[in-house]
């Protein structure tokens, strides 16, 4: 920082006082922002764990339903709700995953760079912004008002499809973009037709990324509450049938019990259900990340 050895017109001085202060303020600002952003996750987790941990460590929590249990009584579990949540999410995935992957294949392998692809891509963006309550109302309008069918778990799954589809499609699309063109060309050079190239070469190469998208999509739909409120009634007993009009689910288990007094045993079950839901969703997220990390294709 000495100016003695250089041209006297150039001065290598420290930045002036006001500039140093501004720089320091900016540094403090970004650090405070980062600390603020990190706090909520731990705060939420701390709250849910301290209030719900005791119950989920019992075996009855995972093996029994809430049938015959009133808010004033201890006991019962969340088995019915876990079954319902997982079942509805799986039915949703069975529809959303093939549709999402095929849509992404259309965008990248068949229509890349065309106006049609831009239009479809725009619609996918819009779909990813559709609020869950609107998706639920749409299925209500289509299924219950127009087709005259009753409320059911399947209707919930269909509403969830609208929410999961863009997640799967976008992540598949990103992965297909990363598959090297050489792989496709090598396959074509061997005389393999396009569709077989896609199924046997492109999709396997992108498989890790696609699974990541599926996991993230599942995690998203499992935590959704709005479609459950509108399209199915909450059941306290175990029910495997997706066509019946009542089914338990973790979000509705929380929603049904949240209004009761804090001293009642039922209130603790609300937090235990919240912790169960967080555990399932977080596990799916961590799994998605692990798959993404292990995947062969990396960005650049």
């Amino acid at each position: 920082m000495s100016a003695t050895t250089t041209d006297p017109q150039l001065s290598f001085r420290r930045p002036s006082g006001i500039r140093t202060v501004k720089n320091a303020l900016a540094t403090i600002y970004v650090i405070v922002a980062t600390v603020l952003a990190v706090i909520p996750l731990f705060w939420v987790l701390y709250t849910v764990i301290t209030k719900g941990l005791r119950l989920i460590l019992t075996s009855t929590w995972w093996l029994q339903s809430q049938r015959g249990i009133t808010p004033r009584r201890e006991g019962g579990g969340a088995y019915h709700a876990i079954v319902g949540t997982v079942e509805m999410a799986l039915i949703c995935a069975a529809i959303a995953v093939p549709l999402g992957i095929l849509g992404a294949i259309f965008l990248i392998e068949y229509a890349k760079g065309t106006k049609v692809a831009r239009g479809v891509s725009f619609m996918v963006d819009i779909l990813s912004g559709v609020p869950s309550i609107v998706a639920a109302l749409f299925i209500y309008a289509l299924f219950i008002t127009i087709l005259g069918l009753g409320r059911s778990a399947i209707a919930v799954s269909l509403a969830l499809v609208l929410l999961m589809l863009p997640v799967v499609l976008r992540s598949t699309e990103e992965m297909l973009k990363l598959v090297p063109q050489e792989l496709r060309e090598a396959s074509y050079a061997l005389g393999v037709s396009k569709w077989k190239t896609i199924i046997r070469v492109v999709i396997p190469a992108a498989f890790g990324g696609i699974m990541t998208g599926v996991m993230l999509g599942l995690a998203r739909v499992m935590g959704e509450t709005a479609p459950l409120l509108i399209l199915v009634s909450y059941a306290v007993g175990i029910n495997f049938s997706p066509t019946s009009d009542t089914m338990g689910a973790l979000p509705t288990m929380i929603n049904t019990g949240r209004d009761q007094a804090q001293q009642l045993p039922g209130y603790e079950r609300v937090w235990a259900a919240a912790l169960t839901l967080i555990i399932i969703v977080m596990l799916l997220n961590l799994l998605a990340r692990a798959i993404a990390r292990a995947s062969k294709l990396k960005e650049r």
Partner: protein, 373 residues
């Protein structure tokens, strides 16, 4: 049928370049030597390759090229196209079906749909309007955006410009994981933990600037729009942070180094190189966050205190209220008559249109801007 007319081979062997299309593989020779030809001469690398190869004749003896069936390709292609079309139709159907069911109730509405605050949908006389819902929805979402965006930009700057890669990884991970927490849990936490925690701050604000209608005393400080906005801000923080981070990380190294070479401090580098480059990305991310906040249902429904029917309207952020989404979800069990359902679907339709517009604007801004998220 020869192999050349399948899609597969078209990709491997492009048509030989012609004079009209110098971009394919030719080098245009503009040198004055070629005086004899009036048009620029094109030197192609593939001049020797004929337009079509007849494998039956040109393949070496003993090599048999099998025919490739196009049927599989055709089926697969139409499958993919159908899926894409189905997605487009799905979005259009959302708009069409919601409109179709909302229309009869809108026509039967005795009040002005846009300016009325009534919500009488039982019985024959329909009197409903969205003024109150619209106010609470927009107020809570804009407030959430105003809280979340400055924090998200700060975090994104910290992650890309300040922290070492080894430290920024875990921090990004924690912020991303925030997006995984289901919204009902945010609602539960917001009502029972954050609401009481923020109550003193709300009290202080009311005592200082309570004379402004926006900050006047509401009914229940715990179930206020203010608490809902803070929770919404936490919920949209991950998406705004993630997009801003990606955009800032793409700032050209040259711009940053040029600023550093001119003696800029770290903040000046950010102000002159990073922020201008990422501006459109940040705006687009904020709009996406706004779209999320507008449509958020269950967290808002749990936190907000529903005002009593016919009570006085309070524009304050410390009052309760109902958003489009929370109104619909709150009354989900009452969808019994078509006219009643239609009124709620009309509210849902407005929400759909608003989020559609916000998301479309976000996309246009992102596309106009240079940086890709």
């Amino acid at each position: 049928m020869s192999v050349t007319d399948t899609d597969a081979t078209e990709r491997v062997e492009p048509e030989p370049a012609t004079a009209e299309d110098p971009s394919v593989s030719g080098v245009v020779d503009h040198s004055p030597v070629s005086l004899h030809s009036p048009v620029p001469k094109v030197v192609t690398h593939r001049a020797a390759v004929p337009a079509t190869i007849d494998h039956a004749e040109q393949a070496p003896r003993g090599v048999r090229l099998a025919k490739i069936s196009k049927t599989g390709d055709r089926i697969f292609r139409s499958l993919a196209t159908t899926s894409a079309l189905a997605i487009v139709l799905l979005v259009l159907f959302v708009g069409i079906f919601l409109s179709a069911l909302a229309l009869p109730s809108l026509q039967a509405d005795q009040d002005n749909f846009l300016t009325s605050r009534n919500w009488t949908v039982a019985g024959d006389q329909l009197r409903f309007g969205i003024a109150g819902l619209l106010w609470t929805t927009v107020l809570s979402s804009v407030l959430a955006m105003a809280i979340a965006v400055p924090v998200a930009v700060g975090v994104a700057l910290c992650l890309t410009q300040y922290l070492h890669k080894r430290a920024s990884g875990p921090v990004s991970f924690i912020v991303d994981l925030l997006a995984a927490v289901p919204s009902i849990i945010f609602g539960l936490w917001g009502l029972s933990v954050l609401g009481p925690f923020l109550a003193p701050a709300a009290e202080w604000l009311i005592s200082k600037i309570g004379w402004i209608p926006l900050f006047s005393r509401g009914v229940d400080p715990k179930g206020s729009v203010f608490v809902a906005s803070v929770v919404l801000a936490i919920m949209i923080l991950p998406i705004v942070t993630a997009i801003s981070r990606d955009v800032f990380a793409q700032t050209p190294r040259d711009h940053i180094e040029a600023a550093l070479a001119l003696g800029a401090t770290r903040w000046e580098v950010i102000r002159t190189a990073v922020l201008p480059y990422g501006r459109s990305g940040v705006i687009s991310a904020s709009m996406l966050g706004l779209g999320r906040a507008l449509g958020e249902t269950i967290a808002v429904m749990i936190i907000l205190t529903t005002p009593s029917v016919g009570g006085p309207f309070s524009p304050s952020i410390f009052a309760g209220g109902e958003t489009f989404a929370s109104k619909i979800a709150n009354n989900a069990s009452e969808f019994d008559s078509p006219s009643k359902t239609g009124a709620f679907i009309a509210a849902g339709l407005v929400l759909f249109v608003v989020t559609f517009a916000v998301n479309a604007i976000a996309r246009v801004i992102a596309e106009r801007g240079g940086a890709k998220s």
